[in-house]
């Protein structure tokens, strides 16, 4: 398709030779357009039209699933609040959510760290390192979250203590209803 757009230059070079003169047809020199340049430009225009007709839908098609709306805006149930001990080390809690990816509904496991000081207000932290997405784990000795990929350490509240992460661990929105703890990923 690219090649279709080139000919005008080539034509300007070829024109003085008058290669098409033997045809003798439609030499429209007054307007400065020969039959040859007209045809070449037409081919380029049609080629460009075809390329756009396929190219633009193709771009929308390829980016389609990437632009689709996610379903992260739902409350995910974690556990009953009474099962979470106040002032204990952060506990890794797992929840299973079903996620739609294209035509598939997949069961996914999400893990978060849960802490509370009083059993009333809960903090839910992402276990995903804010640097490059590895999973962090709680290390009692260091009183912090450790990321094994690049030796990052986050404090108990998720703040960066050491290493390359640009920001604290993500903290999620929390809701308590009927003694059950929920969080939202968005």
């Amino acid at each position: 398709m690219d090649e279709d757009r080139e000919p005008p230059e080539t034509d300007e070079d070829a024109q003085p030779e008058g290669a098409e003169a033997e045809d003798g047809e439609a030499e429209d020199s007054e307007a400065g357009t020969t039959r040859r340049t007209f045809l070449i430009r037409s081919i380029a225009a049609i080629g460009g039209g075809i390329a756009a007709t396929v190219g633009i839908p193709a771009a929308l098609f390829v980016t389609g699933s990437a632009r689709a709306q996610g379903d992260e805006d739902t409350w995910i149930r974690l556990a009953s609040t009474s099962s979470i001990e106040p002032n204990a080390a952060p506990v890794l809690m797992k929840a299973t959510v079903s996620r739609r990816s294209g035509y598939l509904i997949e069961e996914q496991e999400v893990s978060v760290f849960v802490t509370t000081t009083d059993g009333v207000v809960f903090t839910v932290l992402s276990n995903i390192c804010s640097h490059l997405g590895c999973r962090v784990r709680w290390v009692d000795d260091q009183d912090g979250f450790f990321c094994p990929c690049h030796n990052a350490i986050f404090g108990p509240g998720g703040e960066v203590v050491e290493g390359p992460p640009p920001r604290a661990l993500d903290q999620f929105e929390v809701m308590v209803e009927d003694g059950q703890l929920f969080f939202k990923e968005a």
Binding site: E3, T10, D13, V54, P57, L60, F61, G64, Y103
Partner: protein
């Protein structure tokens, strides 16, 4: 600007000479029937582009093939267009290739010195049929399934080796995920490789030997 860049490139690559040899070569006075080869080539380009786009979402797995095709057709933006172009483009390519072949036969264009062009052309037609046959299974719907049952039974017809040919096509005793994945592999890797190779030879010969003028009345 672009003229200077063209010059710069030409001094290093000599592209202008090739450009002239391919696109600005002299041809005899011909008619519209002579565009059928280029039309087939154009259909092939469309098949390549749309086919590559389809592989981005298509999954050659018995559990997912139909759902992924349905997702392409019904949910993705312009999926219906991309798949539609590939679907109808396949028929168009077969039709154009056959019309092109009829033109070559009718005008005697297969004769000396163009026999090799003809032979590669026959190879290309067979590859095009193989594309159609293997691609037909990929949507993994009832029509695809039963068409492949029939097609592979035809492959079993030859005496002695027939049974083996059938098993070879199916990747086993009957249609399964193995059949789907080998048809997919053939359709997107094996056949395109062969096609590009043969098209390159075919077109090199067309350019090298030039195209034949329509025969005169008393030839």
């Amino acid at each position: 600007m672009s003229t200077r860049m063209g010059e710069w490139l030409d001094q290093r690559t000599g592209w202008k000479g090739n450009w002239t040899a391919v696109f600005l070569r002299k041809i005899p006075k011909v008619n519209w029937a002579y565009t059928l080869g280029s039309a087939t080539l154009f259909a092939m380009v469309i098949q390549f582009v749309t086919g590559i786009l389809l592989t981005i979402y298509y999954v050659p797995d018995p559990a997912q093939a139909y759902a992924s095709v349905s997702y392409i057709t019904n949910d993705l933006p312009f999926g219906w267009l991309i798949r539609g172009l590939h679907h109808w483009g396949a028929s168009a390519m077969v039709l154009l290739a056959i019309l092109h072949m009829i033109r070559v036969i009718m005008y005697g264009a297969y004769k000396y010195p163009r026999e090799v062009t003809w032979i590669t052309g026959v190879g290309l037609l067979l590859i095009t049929f193989a594309f159609g046959f293997t691609g037909y299974l990929l949507p993994w719907d009832q029509r695809a399934y039963w068409a492949t049952v029939v097609g592979t039974r035809i492959g079993e017809v030859p005496p002695l080796i027939g049974g083996f040919i059938g098993d070879l096509m199916l990747g086993g005793e009957e249609i399964s995920g193995l059949t789907l994945s080998r048809f997919f592999g053939a359709h997107v890797w094996v056949l395109p490789s062969l096609l590009i190779l043969l098209v390159a030879i075919h077109m090199y010969l067309v350019i090298r030997n030039g195209i034949s003028a329509p025969p005169k009345r008393d030839e």
